[in-house]
Amino acid sequence: MKGDRSKAVTLWGFVIAALVMLSAPTLVVLGASFTAGNMITFPPEGLSLKWYAAIAGATDLRDAFFRSAIVATICTAISIPTGTLAGIALAKYRVRFAAGVQIYLLLPFTVPLIGSGIGLMLIFGKWGLLGQLWPVGIACAVINLPFMIWAVTASAAGLDPDLELAAANCGAPPLSTFLAVTVPAVTPGIITGALLMFILALNEFLVSLLLVDARIVTLPVQIYNSIRSIITPDLAAISVVFIAVAAIAIALLDWLVGLDIFLKSK
């Protein structure tokens, strides 16, 4: 057909530009982590794994990573039951004031992160909870909760209410019905949501920055503090940890539920 060529060329021009923009920082960080030099230079001064050896010995970076992992675990552990129950309730029942409840539960998205972070910092400070890791995990659960609820409601749309009635008809009491029929039906949503919550909490920067002190910095905060002074390749090596975790999360997501679910129209 006439014009197909110009269409393809135009579209692909934008797509390739977008691909370069999206991937350049990741590829450069990966490349820089293998440099043999003491500075990040271009072209690189040869390949080595010495910066990986350096971060393996750097206790501050390693501790920061484990703190981030703890925060992400706490966040995920809180948001799975909370978001699943809320998601099923919103998807399955005709809740009175549903519109109001939805607006309320979307608050973490409508309130800018800096606002949520400062607000949580003020109340956690008032309750004397600052300086510990678990409030940071709770904060991450609060600010990303809509993702979890969204994931569960999206997959609950495929739950046929007749299945639950059938279970009840076969004599299953309500709790058994819930655990044996309802929950398995929304499991893809729970998996998607949980992965999102874990990854977002692992990467969470601003809220972490506001809630941690010098003794319990998380990894993104640690990297932020370091790049304000000097840029050395050990930061590239530790950043590769994030890249690796992101890659694993994507692989898991694709394997368990398929990345295509993000393209579906409701």
Binding site: P25, Y93, D254, D260
Partner: protein, 313 residues
Amino acid sequence: MRPSRTSYPLSWRLMDAVEAVAAAVWPRSFSAAVPWLMLMPAVVLVGLLVLGLWDMADGSFRTLDTATFLPSDDYSLANYDRAFTEKLFFTVASRSLIGSLIVTVITLVFAFPYSYVMVRTRSAALRKFLLIALFLPFFIGQVVRAYGWLIILGSQGMVNEALGLVGVAPIRLLYNYPAVLFGLVQYMLPFAVLMLAPALTAIPEEMESAAGSLGANWVRTFIHVVLPLAKPGFIGAGLVVMTLSLTDFAIPAILGGGSQDFIANAIYDQFFRTSDQGMGATLALLLVAVGSIMVGVVFALFGAGTLAMGRSK
């Protein structure tokens, strides 16, 4: 013959006991309240946010006592007055607003073709590749991505070294407004593409073929068929990109190097540099108000669209 009850598996008996407890604690007559009970944990969790906002509102009415460096006990509107009159805040606010508008437009221009190709391609492998290229930066976090840009754009970075090889003097690519906007576009692209994709998926491909067979070329098909039908997606994506870039902290801080502060950076400085909690709370609340009004207006005009959670109608 029916086996005796004791021969049932342990898990059955356990489950029966749990059911009995649940039935005793929560009799069937309460069943109307079950959805509320299920919503309760989420409501409590988000309630922390509401408490925080309340605390900020309280703080915003207290001025900083310069003698004791403590917030005053009496309430006044002095902070709000300062927020609207001081030149510094005006500069920062207009920089963020104009910046987020530019970022929104550029991001949507790149997000639409990406989303379109991803949705329409016949090759499953290409679709997966585009999705992975999208999710990888999305899952890596802002700080690491900004760090990558520092390596590429820094004064001894890749671009400048490459320019040096062909004899061009180093150019200052970082710590200016375009660098911040560029970083924000890169940060926002995955959000925009993921919000546009469902809207494009919903447009039947036959519509485009129909426009084509009636003699429209692809540009006219896009302008008169695809873009209008994708409007809800554009509104959702534009809204998210606009609010997220308006309120971003990390990109202006890292790629702006302190000279290109956005509102969030000004708020942070009020709390941690000048220690004027009241002023910081005021600015943060104003930002919350601006963000909520933007979201509210769009929801009121066009419905919750892609962001909607809950029963599918």
